[in-house]
């Protein structure tokens, strides 16, 4: 089976001796929506840097859509689009030229590049800014410009390194709708983010990297199943009577007593809680996790 990305025993030691990657193995299936998570300095950016040739690897093998980067890096790069964390376009170029010039670096003719630039700039709501110098754009627009630029050669794999950092909620949502549509059309997406709810909602598979090693590599569903305990916050329509408790559950009454926090361990049912509240004629208006589930796992896996 050919994978979108196949990494084996990848090591990176920087000048000075810092070992950023200690021999990682990673496979990303074609068409996947994949999250690469890890704390700062864990090795995410080094891994992405090696994939897109901004970092030289020390040893190991990397293939992109079956093309070994040691044998045909140019061929491998054609499959890859990268949206880096930091803005890295010429700020004095116009928005349109940033995208069309990038197409030229991939050997795409100007006539095709112009059509694609129009297509992606329109899809990303940047068409009316096409003649503006890119330094004049807002932070969110600059992020979208980098997505348009990464897509202009229509890559099979799109790597997004912290694409929503500093982006407002509305824009973040529209960005994800766009990326989800791309994934549905067949583009493999690899995402790094610190917003773990994004990874939980969007990604099918996940790898967590810590201290240069992959500490977890599985599906998001399978990972969430490993949670032994979750804390839920229940908003109630009236205050809980004094002295009320729920046997076998750890319940914390919030100060106003109109909401409670309940710890539910694996094997326990939420129905028991609802039934108990029903017996005292208290209705649950809404319910939410106290903290993001993936975040809990992430902390557990990376806290050392």
């Amino acid at each position: 089976m050919t994978y979108a990305i196949e990494i084996s025993d990848l090591k990176k030691r920087y000048e000075g001796g810092f070992e950023a990657l200690k021999g990682i193995d990673l496979k990303v299936k074609k068409g996947d929506f994949f999250a690469l998570l890890g704390p700062n300095g864990a090795g995410k950016s080094t891994t992405i840097g090696i994939l897109c040739s901004l970092v030289n690897k020390t040893s190991g093998n990397v293939s992109i859509f079956g093309t070994d980067i040691d044998k045909d890096f140019a061929g491998a790069k054609k499959h890859l689009g990268v949206v880096p964390q930091e803005f890295n376009f010429n700020v004095f170029e116009t928005v349109f030229n940033v995208v069309v010039t990038q197409a030229g670096f991939y050997g795409i003719s100007r006539s095709v590049a112009i059509k694609r630039a129009e297509k992606y700039l329109k899809q990303l709501d940047l068409w009316d800014k096409k003649d503006d110098q890119s330094r004049m754009l807002s932070g969110g627009m600059k992020r979208r410009l980098m997505i348009a630029r990464a897509l202009v050669h229509e890559p099979d794999v799109l790597i997004l390194d912290e694409p929503t950092a500093g982006v407002d909620i509305e824009l973040r949502r529209s960005m994800w709708e766009f990326i989800k549509a791309l994934n549905e059309q067949g583009t493999t997406i690899i995402l790094t983010t610190h917003y773990l709810e994004e990874a939980e909602q969007l990604c099918r598979n996940i790898a967590i990297i810590n201290d240069g090693e992959i500490v977890e590599n599985t599906s998001v569903k399978a990972l969430l199943k490993t949670l032994n305990q979750e804390t839920f916050i229940l908003d109630l329509d009236k205050n809980i009577p004094e002295g009320w408790n729920l046997p076998n559950y750890n319940v914390v009454l919030n100060q106003d007593a109109s909401s409670i926090e309940v710890e539910v361990v694996k094997g326990q049912s939420l129905n028991t809680i609802f039934k108990a509240l029903d017996t005292i004629s208290v209705n649950v208006i809404s319910m939410r996790n106290k903290s993001n589930r993936l975040e809990e796992l992430f902390v557990k896996l990376t806290k050392g």
Binding site: C52, S53, A74, K77, N90, F105, Y106, G107
Partner: protein
């Protein structure tokens, strides 16, 4: 990449470079025009008349080829060094590095961008010089060949500078402290025959001397040195600098971790 794709990538880099220096023409094209006009007016017209002839030509006629070459050298060099360093500084060089464009195409694209600016400024200075003196043309072939090879050589030098530079100071240090003295002492304003024999020998170690004299030979037909020897030296410098630039690019010096 297919040949047609390589051609598109090269053409894209070249156009990008030309667009860059024409967009900032008050910084790139105007200053050499003003500076050289002042050189022509002061050294050529005012002081030159008192100096008399040099190499059988009026002083103005003698210094014009040198001043044209000085413009070509300075502008070819600084175009590539500042453009490549700016791309590093803004991280926009990553746009090229993540693409399948081969390193040699990146190098040739940047170098020809520098050559284009060098030749364009050389043309502007040549046109301006015609307001002050008559320019004969002894050999069009030698003139064009020398100016082209010189622009290539100094563009390559600028590329190496751009790769090593870590700050804007690093980009200006070489032109200020190395290139300018070499150019001024490279026979732009005088014939080395005027120097004592020891300093004549020292001057022969200056590569700029060969280029200025070879160009002067193409224009006026006079030279302090053998122009074929000059062409060999320039060609050797180009070969070494090209190989070294490509080696640095392949290694990722200053641009890849």
């Amino acid at each position: 990449m297919k040949n047609s794709e390589i051609w598109i990538a090269f053409y894209t880099i070249l156009i990008k470079e030309i667009r860059r220096f024409t967009r900032i023409w008050p910084q790139t094209l105007l200053p050499p025009a003003i500076t050289m006009t002042l050189y022509f007016a002061i050294f050529g017209n005012l002081i030159g008349d008192r100096i008399g002839t040099m190499g059988g030509f009026s002083y103005m006629e003698y210094i014009v080829p040198g001043l044209i070459m000085m413009s070509v050298i300075t502008n070819s060099y600084s175009n590539v060094s500042s453009s490549f360093f700016s791309a590093k500084f803004q991280h926009s060089v990553q746009e090229l590095l993540v693409s399948p464009t081969p390193n040699w195409v990146i190098l040739v694209g940047y170098v020809l961008g520098g050559v284009t600016r060098g030749l364009l400024v050389g043309l502007v200075v040549t046109i301006l010089s015609l307001f002050f003196t008559h320019l004969a043309l002894e050999s069009l072939f030698i003139t064009v060949l020398v100016v082209f090879l010189t622009a290539i050589m100094f563009s390559l030098g600028g590329f190496v500078n751009g790769i090593y530079a870590q700050s804007f100071d690093d980009v200006s240090i070489v032109p200020t402290f190395i290139l300018t003295p070499l150019t001024y002492l490279g026979g732009v304003f005088y014939s080395i025959d005027l120097l004592p024999s020891f300093w004549q020998s020292v001057s022969l170690l200056n590569p700029v001397l060969y280029m200025v004299n070879a160009f002067r030979y193409g224009v006026l037909g006079v030279s302090d040195i053998n122009i074929y020897w000059a062409l060999v030296i320039v060609s050797c410098f180009i070969a070494v600098l090209f190989w070294y630039s490509l080696y640095l690019l392949d290694k990722g010096k200053g641009i890849r971790n």
